[in-house]
Amino acid sequence: MSKVAIMTDSNSGITQAEAKQLGITVLPMPFNVGGSDYFEDINLSQEQFYRFLEEDVTVKTSQPSPSDVTAAFDRLLEEYDEVVHIPMSSGLSGSCQTAYMLAREPRFQDRVFVVDNQRISVTQRQSVLDAMKLADNGKSGKEIRDFLFEDKFNSSIYIMLDTLHYLKKGGRITPAAAAIGSLLKIKPVLTIQGEKLDAFSKARTPQQGKKIMKDAILKDIDIRFGGLEGACDRMHIQFAYTGDRDKIDEFAEMVMADLPGFEPPVIQPLSLSVACHIGPGALAVACTKKI
């Protein structure tokens, strides 16, 4: 049985400390703030990041440098036979494509497997946990990659933004999201189904937005993922937020009230590369299918 290392990037929301505990590798995502480079959870904390956003300093996301990626591969291959790397969705960043190309170098061929399963944040995190479980069960790197790839659309995310400001500023806005009006206070509800961040619905108030997200996730579980009955055996539910944590618990409670039997859900901050585009005050709910 080959020894398989699991690697991801900090978009998964897995901190360096947690990574150590889990025995995996997390590549920190780089940010450029006012000309200086920072790395998520290395020398850029959540608090610092939101201070930058509030000050309206331009925060730019970038990709891990190819040398950092290959260095991580090399280091892991010293200890392990194979590496499964799960970067953030290729629909949101080029880092997956880059990693994929780097993995084709002769010394990594058939040893490093990059998974383009189009997940981000809590769903990406779940993929990492799934990969670890598969590795423990003796699956090979290729088997794990193929499984995760097959499984890629078995997740769903809804995010309510507090403001359109950052989405418009970042220019990363799909035509549908761009059509959301800007004269009124509108809280867009976005969705990630595999590929991109896309417009799902709109709300005028947080209560409306929360209800839209709750209805949407319940509908997904009911229609796409085999029904609400016994869903706790089939699904994971996760929550994420940007900025202050104070509103997410109440939202989680509201959603879980209609989902009996579930373990207490994972609640974590959204990764900074997403936060950078949507700004503080966002709430998100996600579901992923259990493997």
């Binding site: 059509a179 009006g181 009124l184 108030t205 209560q207």
Partner: protein
């Protein structure tokens, strides 16, 4: 005494009815229960019947009964404004369905049958028919009429029916408490009675001027017309006219004719409604267009404007579609929006939310079915959502939907501007028309609207004594606050709204008579009072209503 009415007499009875309603327009307007300066029943019914009267008057002297019926029916259906106007148009439509099949002599029994059909058609047009309204008066007319047969004398018959109709009208306050409280009879019913009275006077041989002027509609047309600006045509003449179709006009012929028009110029459009086809085209050769059009029937409502002559543009010209509606459905987008709005700021909000056509009107002037049909023709979309934003426009929108064949029209029954805004915001592109209607209806139920305006007369309503020029705060279900000061009354109204539904967001659309600084002052007071709420201030620019407030 003759016991039948001939075509000529019938036509004149109708014109006399229309003229009499027009003369009593202001009296009918005064009967409105709500003392708000709104598009009133008398105005709406008059504009509706005048649209039909113009078509009837334009017919040749010797036009047959079928042509008269067609003109009456299609003219009123398309010209229908306001709920009472739509009901009136449905009464004529039902009546004409029976009469158009006759050979030119109308007996008492024919009339009874036509009244029966009229009442049936009108009741069908209303989702929840209410007694104590124009419907009840119309039903009373039929019931009395049905006691007579061809052996009776026509004049006696007419007199008896009118006496009874008056009795029914006088009893409407007993059926509708709001009428009783305001001390009025139903305005729509009163309008119908005036039509009948005009006909009665003519039948008795009274000297009456039956001339129908062409200008009646010009003023409201400006307010109620569709805003559209488009590229200027290179052709000289902007033509618009209506064909009273004398033979079947199928889709193939319609397309062929449209192609012919396009070969002659640009901005060509054809809109078929029942037995009429409304055409527009910009061309250098009006003669050829007329010649071809005459092969389908008689022409009416003709307007030709020389676009290069400059200056003198007939009002009709502005109404012509500015761009040729894309006639290839495969190029249409999935969803489009039409809304009725007034005030630059509010219209800007709707545009910002992606509305394709804004029909100017609403509070001050209810657009006609034809205005809505025209807007529909300008939106190249497979499904078009129409948001009336006023309860008195919903029926005209429904009528426009029923007269549209090539597009799916979803009338979202929004009664206020904030409801319309909430509905559009909740639109989801992936859902079907039906699913969106359900979602939008739910979204509308989550918003409470308050409207602040002044009273145009003394009255008593919702248990409140109101004097002329008082400030009134009107909620979704009635008058909430009455006072002398705009600010105070607005806040009092909001207090009541907040106590009924706790809201998170208060939106304030201030009207053209309110200064930005005054509105900011109000917003500040509300912020102090409702600290947990978001307050949103928008310059609505609407006339007559100082403030539109929404709480959600």
């Amino acid at each position: 005494m003759s016991n039948a009415i001939d075509t000529r007499m019938f036509r004149n009875l109708f014109l006399a009815g229309a003229k009499n309603l027009e003369a009593k327009k202001e009296y009918i307007n005064e009967l409105n229960v709500f003392p708000v300066p709104d598009g009133d029943t008398g105005t709406n019914m008059t504009l509706t019947i005048m649209s039909a009267a113009r078509e009837v008057a334009a017919l040749p002297e010797d036009a047959d009964l079928k042509s008269v019926c067609k003109a009456m029916s299609s003219g009123s259906l398309r010209g229908a404004r306001g709920n009472s106007g739509v009901i009136l148009s449905q009464l004529f439509r039902g009546m004409c369905k029976v009469l158009k099949g006759l050979d030119g002599q109308i007996t008492i029994e024919d009339l009874v049958q036509s009244f029966d059909k009229a009442v049936e058609s009108a009741y069908k047009a209303v989702m929840k028919p209410t007694e104590g309204t124009i419907l009840t008066v119309a039903k009373g007319v039929y019931e009395k009429a049905s006691e007579y047969d061809n052996d009776a004398d026509m004049e006696e018959f007419i007199d008896a029916v009118l006496v009874h109709a008056q009795k029914v009208l006088d009893s409407t306050p007993e059926m509708l408490p709001v009428l009783k409280q305001a001390g009025v009879v139903d305005s729509g019913g009163a309008g119908l009675l005036e039509v009948l009275k005009g006909a009665q006077r003519y039948f008795r041989g009274e000297e009456m001027d039956l001339g129908i002027s062409d200008t009646t509609e010009s003023a409201p047309e400006e307010e109620g017309s569709v805003k559209s600006e488009g590229p200027k045509s290179k052709y000289t003449y902007d033509m618009a006219f209506t064909i009273l179709l004398s033979r079947n006009f199928n889709i193939k012929q319609e397309q062929d004719f449209l192609k012919y028009l396009e070969s002659m110029g640009d901005h060509a459009s054809i809109k078929v409604v029942e037995d009429t086809a409304a055409m527009t085209v910009h061309t250098d050769d009006p003669g050829l267009v007329f010649q071809r059009a005459l092969s389908f029937g008689e022409l009416t409502d003709i307007s030709i404007v020389n676009q290069h002559a400059g200056g003198k543009q007939a009002p009709k010209a502005e109404e012509a579609p500015a761009q040729a509606p894309a006639d290839d459905p495969s190029t249409w987008k999935d969803a489009g929006f039409i809304t009725i709005s007034v005030g630059e700021g509010i219209s800007a909000v709707f545009k910002d939310l992606g509305v394709d056509q804004i029909i100017s009107g609403g509070q001050t002037m209810n657009p006609s079915t034809d205005d809505i049909l025209h807007a529909i023709s300008l939106v190249p979309a497979k499904t078009i959502y129409v948001l009336p934003n006023n309860k008195n426009i919903i029926m005209a929108a429904n009528q426009a939907r029923d007269l549209t064949g090539d597009k799916e029209i979803v009338v979202v029954p929004s009664k206020t501007i904030p409801q319309g805004i909430a509905a559009i915001i909740s639109f989801a592109p992936d859902l079907s028309g039906e699913e969106n209607l359900a979602a939008m209806t739910e979204a509308m139920s989550m918003v409470a609207t308050g409207q602040v305006t002044y009273a145009v007369r003394d009255t008593q309503i919702d248990g409140k004594e109101i004097h002329e020029n008082d400030i009134m705060g009107i909620g979704d279900k009635g008058i909430l606050a009455v006072g002398k000061q705009i600010d105070e009354t607005t806040i009092e109204m909001i207090d009541i709204m907040m106590s009924e539904n706790s809201g998170e967001l208060i939106s304030i659309y201030f009207g053209e008579d309110i200064k930005q600084s005054e509105a900011e002052e109000l917003a500040k007071k509300l912020k102090d009072k409702y600290a947990g709420c978001d307050i949103e201030l928008i310059s609505g620019g609407q006339p007559i209503y100082y403030y539109l407030i929404s709480i959600e």
